[in-house]
Symmetry: none
Subunit: 155 residues, 2 copies
Amino acid sequence: MDRFLSSAVNRIDAKGRVSVPAHFRAVVQKRGYGDLYALRALDVPALDVGGLDLLDRYEQRISLEDPFLQAADDMSFFIHGDGAFLKFDQDGRITVTDFIREHTGITTDVAFVGRGTFFQMWEPSRLEEYGAQVRQRLLRLRQAASARSLGEGTE
Amino acid sequence: MDRFLSSAVNRIDAKGRVSVPAHFRAVVQKRGYGDLYALRALDVPALDVGGLDLLDRYEQRISLEDPFLQAADDMSFFIHGDGAFLKFDQDGRITVTDFIREHTGITTDVAFVGRGTFFQMWEPSRLEEYGAQVRQRLLRLRQAASARSLGEGTE
DNA sequence: TGGGGATATATGGGCGTCAACGGGAATAAC
DNA sequence: GTTATTCCCGTTGACGCCCATATATCCCCA
């Protein structure tokens, strides 16, 4: 398996370290990532974590912009300057920095969530809340869709 | 790693020196920069720091302007006449000059921000404020894009 | 089927190394 | 002489390396 799937919650120890789930570590190795790179998710209190190829995608996107306009500068600032390296110790743990705590609200436990080509780090209770919201939205979407397909002029 | 990534805040000591983050120093060496060259960023209170190839980027910018207009002349003056060399001591520190303090508002601490091919020096609280603005703009960009892709006649 | 290891994972903690930082003294500049 | 810069050394705290332990899972074999 070479994709980040499923989720797990691990505890932060007294030194501020937390184990990355073994399954995720296997994916990291298979993909040949040395260090991990973490970016802030823009609309949720979570971090997007992956290899440096996470940046390739963004840099490709930036190259489409006029390099002297604000948009390009913002994008570069965000991915190059507003990220952080996560270094494994040899037991597969990373240290939870202030950068991580600030953006996510993480204090004692970390929820790791697979997202295919990358994974996310969440404060567990916030993740749960967010999950409920997502399910709610999907349910409404589905209901709206079936309402539309029944009576075409319902709205 | 050959790009300036992530950020760090270091303190200025009583002699006016500040350590350049070790990771950045490694990049500097890998890129073969002897001394560093610092330019005022055009629209933010920060310094752009890198090798002399930094000038290439700005000269390219200037070449886009009409040479008969004042803008091109202003930019050239700004860049060629208003830069400064930053010399490392043998512990990897640079001295914070009045030039740096004036343009950035730096007093006791320096935030180093990776920007890929160069890095920036900021006054930490100003950086934080600017980062929040950038994320806000990027979020709006993203939301505008998804609104467009959902309902085509929403606007 | 059930017991008893062997293995893997998460977690805790000791300890050495290195980067950041502070300061003394030599050297250069004015 | 005075000031500023450069070199060198010591301190400190964070982080990486290493080892130990507890728990769960799997596998083999009786």
